[in-house]
């Protein structure tokens, strides 16, 4: 009997402990991500800020074929369209699925909402290219420096010439 009571008490304490500490755990997780040394986003010349054209333009939220931006063919996320990432109300920001606005300089946060494991590895220094110092300040790159966001898969490139075969040495 006594043992049972003790067990109940202990489990109650454990439960309360979890309940009380959970807001702190959450707070830690939602901490604002550390800033990384990234170069400015690779905008096409003259395209940013977007508001220079979009200011005062009526917002049309209906997915459709655009008259502008014809060069962009979206090959990322089938069925997706502009406002999945771009913010209709303030074009100079990106918008996450939860409505939070993200600047273009921190676009990796936006990418990370789907590619979470990649973002984790990018922060750890595994995914993506680093230049600079192995024991000091590293130059990170935004996701969009290597992956064009509208068609993120790498295009094949020309390899540099193969080494000279011994049989070809004169």
């Amino acid at each position: 009997m006594d043992r049972k009571k003790t067990g109940l008490f202990l489990s109650l304490v454990a439960f309360l402990g979890i309940v009380i500490s959970s807001p702190y755990l959450l707070a830690e997780e939602q901490e604002i991500p550390k800033k990384f040394f990234v170069p400015p986003p690779p905008f096409s010349p003259g395209i940013f800020p977007c508001s220079q054209c979009h200011q005062g333009m009526p917002v049309n939220r209906k997915p459709r074929k655009l008259e502008m931006h014809q060069d962009i063919v979206l090959k990322h996320m089938p069925g997706g369209w502009c406002f999945d990432c771009h913010n209709p109300d303030n074009r100079d920001k990106l918008r996450m699925a939860n409505g939070k606005l993200v600047s273009f300089e921190e676009s990796y946060i936006l990418c990370g909402q789907c590619h979470g494991t990649i973002l984790r590895e990018w922060k750890a220094g595994l995914h993506g290219k680093r230049t600079g110092m192995w024991n000091g300040e590293k130059q990170y790159r935004l996701c969009v420096h290597c992956h064009w966001p509208h068609e993120p898969r790498f295009k094949p490139i020309k390899p540099l010439p193969p080494p000279v075969k011994p049989s070809d040495i004169k």
């Binding site: 590895e121 750890a124 220094g125 595994l126 995914h127 993506g128 290219k129 680093r130 230049t131 600079g132 110092m133 192995w134 024991n135 000091g136 290597c146 790498f154 094949p156 490139i157 020309k158 390899p159 540099l160 010439p161 193969p162 080494p163 000279v164 075969k165 040495i169």
Partner: protein, 308 residues
């Protein structure tokens, strides 16, 4: 015993004395004439690098800088940065990302002053057919030349010096011209190497390369920032190899191949630092080392960051 006899005909030597004298004369003629500059003798009597003190190393470096300056008509600095304490260099290469573009191979040549003709490349990119017994290195192709890479049916594996913890090349060297530095880099002293190429035979990775002729490189393209144990200009008849860009990494920079890789497949860092990129790769990814069964303990880790 009297060897020289004077007769009416002149001086008569016995056969043995004549041969001795002749040998001395030939040896004397083989030595450089009296107008050979002092630097020849300095280099002839140079001590082993690890036995020299700071002043002697400084002298050697000054001599080399002068020699290179005369040869290439530009100022070339020869560094002698020591290993950083508490550092053991490790390298990671993500095979799931490498696209076989050979950018690393040529960035290495630009950085490390290899001969262009005859060509010496410290990195070899091997191509393997997917889905076959690929650890069979003999069946790989290093001369592939498609229009575009990556090709869907192949994958690629760059191989360079694996900087073994137990390097068979070092044991093979009869003159101790190659050794492992405290930070794990296996280096060659080009002034001590006699060109016997035993180390090349001992290396299971084909990572060592021989200068069959005087290294041939456009003086315009010489990288003037060099290290005594790294990318300083080499001589005919010496062996050379990847040094993890010792002239860069001992100053905290990434190796040239890491910075050249367009897909970020190459990782570099300190194996003793638990927060380094290379440790992250080893702890979180599937990692293997090339020819592990030979007990060479390479510090070059191949891994798969993504899928297979």
């Amino acid at each position: 015993m009297k060897k020289v006899k004077k007769t009416r005909e002149g001086i008569q030597l016995d056969r043995r004395t004549f041969l001795k004298g002749a040998a001395l004369g030939v040896a004397g003629a083989a030595l450089p004439s009296s107008n050979a500059d002092a630097s020849f003798w300095d280099s002839f009597f140079q001590k082993h690098f690890q036995e020299m003190n700071e002043a002697e190393i400084k002298q050697v470096i000054e001599r080399l800088e002068k020699e290179y300056g005369e040869k290439y008509k530009k100022a070339i600095t020869v560094g002698n940065e020591k290993a950083i304490p508490g550092v053991l260099f490790g390298y990671g290469l993500d095979l799931s990302r490498c696209i076989g573009c050979r950018r690393c191979e040529y960035a290495c040549v630009d950085e490390n002053n290899q001969s262009k003709d005859p060509q010496i490349h410290w990195i070899t990119v091997l191509r393997f057919k997917k889905g076959e017994k690929w650890v069979d290195l003999e069946g790989s192709d290093k001369y592939y030349n498609p229009d575009l890479v990556p090709e869907p049916e192949y994958f690629y594996m760059p191989v360079q010096c694996q900087q073994c913890e137990n390097p068979p090349c070092v044991r093979a060297c009869p003159t101790q011209a190659t050794w492992k530095e405290p930070d794990g880099i296996v280096v060659v002293d080009y002034n001590w190497c006699i060109g016997c190429r035993y180390c090349m035979a001992a290396c299971p990775y084909g990572a060592r390369h021989f200068n069959w002729t005087e290294p041939n490189r456009d003086p315009e393209e010489i990288n003037t920032k060099t290290h005594y144990l790294g990318n300083r200009p080499r001589y005919k008849g010496v062996v050379e190899k990847c040094t993890f860009c010792i002239q860069r990494t001992r100053n905290g920079r990434y190796p040239a191949c890491v910075e050249a890789c367009p897909v970020g497949a190459r990782k570099f860092g300190n194996l003793l630092d638990p927060n380094s990129e290379i440790r992250y790769a080893i702890e979180h990814k599937r990692v293997f080392r090339l020819k592990e069964d030979l007990n060479t303990y390479p510090k070059f880790y191949y891994f798969f960051a993504y899928g297979v």
